[in-house]
């Protein structure tokens, strides 16, 4: 029954255990936690405006490279916010390991913690489904913002679910239209058997076939590391090879092996391939944000991030955007003189109307929870690895 006691302590809220970690202090610089010294700003919230925000993601496991960046960006956003505004918001880490069963359990844990007023995550659409069901049944007032799930239709199913990335419904047609514009007649699509990939591949394929383009569709599982055999089957007259993959490094391997075998088709990658791991010159990438290093307002944020953490990827900035949406909503509630709780925070989230954001576009949500102004941008990778905006 020691296990019982420990569990109660670990996830107990009303039983007074120490549940929340104080991530604000995990920075390694001299500036530590935001002490009471900075309670300036306005007098209206002289009362403590406190909140805990949960972050769900695959921090360990096979796709830890996604989760790690997301977690780092979240911590960075939290620290910066706390310092900027003089608050002491807390965070709770929930490692889903990209596993649906764990996502559901973690969702329940976050629900049970009454201090949690918002959640950023989960990362994958599968996990969003599993966690969403739990959140919906338990407390649809809890705001859940996914920074990377793109499957269309999910936000309509769950009341409190929002996202800061556009959906497959946008990406598929954008990709297909671009290819058609470039005069493509034959396209080779490979999906990686994940739900993100198959959904996107399906949408793009449909759009291409409507435009009378010949499409060859193949798929590989994510644990394949050698694509040579598959590359060998690419027909010589293929114009584009579309890779809606989650693992950009695999995309680079694919590109290398295409070069080895003398295949001249151009690779087009989805937003999952927008990462430093994929640098095949001449390829195209779809991204849901223009390169934030090119957005004036975002450069300083990026630099601040890179000072503390060594690497970033496309999965990072939407986390910042999602976190800020929640933080600012809580702030607005406090400014109005109320104690923040899940219901009023969600109401304020729905009122979000940022004219500009780290992603370079305004942020506001549709009734379902999707971005009103989500659009995909297409980049081409240059010889030196930089990306130029093409559309």
């Amino acid at each position: 029954m020691l296990a019982l006691a420990l569990v109660v302590a670990a996830c107990g809220d009303d039983t007074g255990g120490d549940t929340t970690t104080t991530a604000g202090v995990t920075t390694t610089e001299g500036e530590t936690d935001t002490t009471a010294g900075e309670t300036t700003t306005t007098g209206a919230e002289a009362m403590a405006c406190e909140a805990t925000i949960g972050v769900m993601g695959p921090f360990t496991g096979e796709v830890a490279f996604i989760g790690e960046v997301q977690l780092n960006w979240f911590n960075y956003a939290l620290d910066t916010w706390n310092e900027e505004m003089g608050y002491d918001f807390q965070m709770v880490e929930a490692d889903t390991q990209f596993d649906v069963a764990q996502s559901a359990t973690l969702a329940q844990q976050l629900l049970d913690n009454p201090d949690v007023l918002g959640v950023v995550g989960p990362a994958g659409s599968d996990q969003v489904d599993a966690a969403g069901a739990v959140f919906e049944a338990g407390d649809p007032d809890l705001t859940v913002i996914s920074p990377s799930s793109t499957r269309s239709g999910i936000t309509a199913q769950y009341t409190g679910l929002f996202r800061t990335v556009p959906t497959d419904d946008d990406q598929g047609p954008t990709t297909a239209d671009f290819m058609v514009e470039q005069g493509a007649q034959s396209v080779f699509i490979v999906d990686d058997q994940s739900s993100y990939s198959t959904g996107l591949a399906d949408t793009t394929q449909d759009n291409l076939e409507t435009a009378d383009v010949t499409v060859t569709r193949e798929s590989v599982s994510q644990d394949v590391t050698d694509f040579s055999a598959l590359v060998g089957t690419i027909p010589d007259d293929t114009d584009f090879v579309y890779l809606p993959w989650q693992v950009a490094a695999n995309g680079q391997i694919f590109a290398n092996q295409m070069a080895e075998q003398g295949k001249e088709a151009v690779i087009f990658g989805s937003d999952g391939m927008d990462s430093d791991d994929f640098t095949q010159a001449g390829s195209y990438i779809a991204a849901f944000a223009p390169d934030i290093a090119a957005i004036e307002g975002s450069v300083s944020i990026l630099e601040g991030y890179l000072e503390q953490y060594e690497n970033t990827s496309t999965f990072g900035p939407p986390v910042w955007a999602a976190a800020r949406v929640i933080f600012e909503a809580i702030d607005r509630v406090c400014q109005a003189g109320e104690t923040p709780d899940r219901a009023n925070v969600q109401a304020e989230v729905r009122n979000t109307d940022q004219t500009t954001s780290i992603l370079g576009s305004p942020i506001s949500f549709t009734e379902d929870g999707d971005l009103v102004e989500g659009t995909f941008f297409i980049f081409q990778i240059q010889e030196d690895g930089s990306k130029t905006l093409v559309q």
């Binding site: 830890a64 599982s221 590391t225 040579s228 089957t233 490094a249 290398n256 075998q261 690497n311």
Partner: protein, 305 residues
């Protein structure tokens, strides 16, 4: 014809890597009658060690020594690190369990596997690293066999694997230590009674098996270019399959099994379908095992009543 040739080369490359890994599994099984599930992690650390050596030598773009020297040092470094990990596993995770039931070392191996993966995650972070082999050895450099051009790195991998396997076979057959290994894998008790130091033999087996895995890791880094903390798990599974198909405990069997699986994967993807690559390969293997239950070159188990 060109297509077939290309796919054959692909299969050969993949098969060579699987063969190297499978050898480690088979050798350890031969002497200890136990499947070392943490072998994949040994291979993973070898790959990272190679990357470390490459970085110390200036990285793929700023190499301080000629390429051939860098490669040799990478291989050596990987062998050293992998052997170290393998030996540590043997000494601390498996030796205490020599007399226990068959499943206890299995769970210990799994625990070690988790531990090593997490350690890799802590030390190297979740980002995958790349040897960036095309910069080291441009893709254009290669051997022309008929209508196709085979990249030099692939040639290197295949040749190295063959050389190592030949050396190993020769060693096992002719040297005293090799004979001792064969004796222990045939009948441990009898070998002990004949004065063979069983503990030493086991250590040597782990050393060689792990070193080979380390070489395999560097090769994978060179040809496929992506090393990350989880790579051992996946590759380990395939190599383990190869070892069993070839006849677990048999060294030529492991080589054969590795090559078979490499070819099966390549041809299946090429001629049938890539979606169902795993399915078909597994299906074939299931069917095969039903026909020949002890693997290709395995000895049917003699059970003494």
């Amino acid at each position: 014809m060109e297509f077939l040739l290309q796919q054959t080369v692909n299969g050969l490359t993949l098969g060579s890597v699987y063969a190297l890994l499978a050898l480690g599994y088979s050798m350890v099984y031969g002497v200890l009658k136990f499947l070392n599930f943490a072998h994949g992690e040994v291979y993973m650390f070898g790959a990272f060690a190679g990357y470390g050596v490459l970085t110390v030598l200036g990285g793929p773009t700023g190499l301080l020594v000629p390429v051939w020297l860098a490669l040799t040092l990478m291989f050596v470094g990987a062998m050293v690190v992998s052997s170290g990990v393998g030996l540590a596993l043997e000494r601390f995770a498996y030796r205490p369990l020599r007399s226990a039931s068959r499943l206890a070392p299995l769970i210990s191996a799994i625990g070690a596997s988790f531990f090593l993966q997490a350690a890799a995650l802590l030390l190297f972070s979740a980002n995958s690293r790349s040897y960036d082999a095309p910069t080291l050895i441009p893709i254009a450099n290669g051997l022309t066999i008929g209508p196709i051009n085979v990249w030099a790195v692939r040639v290197l991998v295949i040749v190295t694997a063959v050389v190592l396997m030949v050396l190993l076979t020769w060693w096992v057959r002719s040297s005293r230590a090799g004979k001792a290994v064969r004796a222990v894998s045939f009948d441990t008790e009898a070998a002990a009674m004949m004065g063979v130091d069983v503990d030493r033999v086991i250590v040597v087996t782990f050393l060689i098996g792990s070193a080979l895995a380390g070489v395999g890791g560097v090769m994978v880094g060179l040809v496929f270019g992506r090393i990350f903390h989880f790579m051992g798990f996946i590759a380990g599974l395939k190599a383990f399959t190869a070892a069993v198909v070839g006849g677990i405990g048999s060294i030529p069997g492991a080589m054969l099994g590795g090559l078979l699986i490499g070819f099966a994967e390549a041809y299946t993807t090429a001629y049938i379908s890539s979606t169902f690559q795993n399915l078909i390969v597994f299906g074939l293997l299931i069917a095969f095992l039903l026909i020949r239950p002890s693997g290709f070159l395995g000895r049917p188990e003699l059970v003494k009543v």
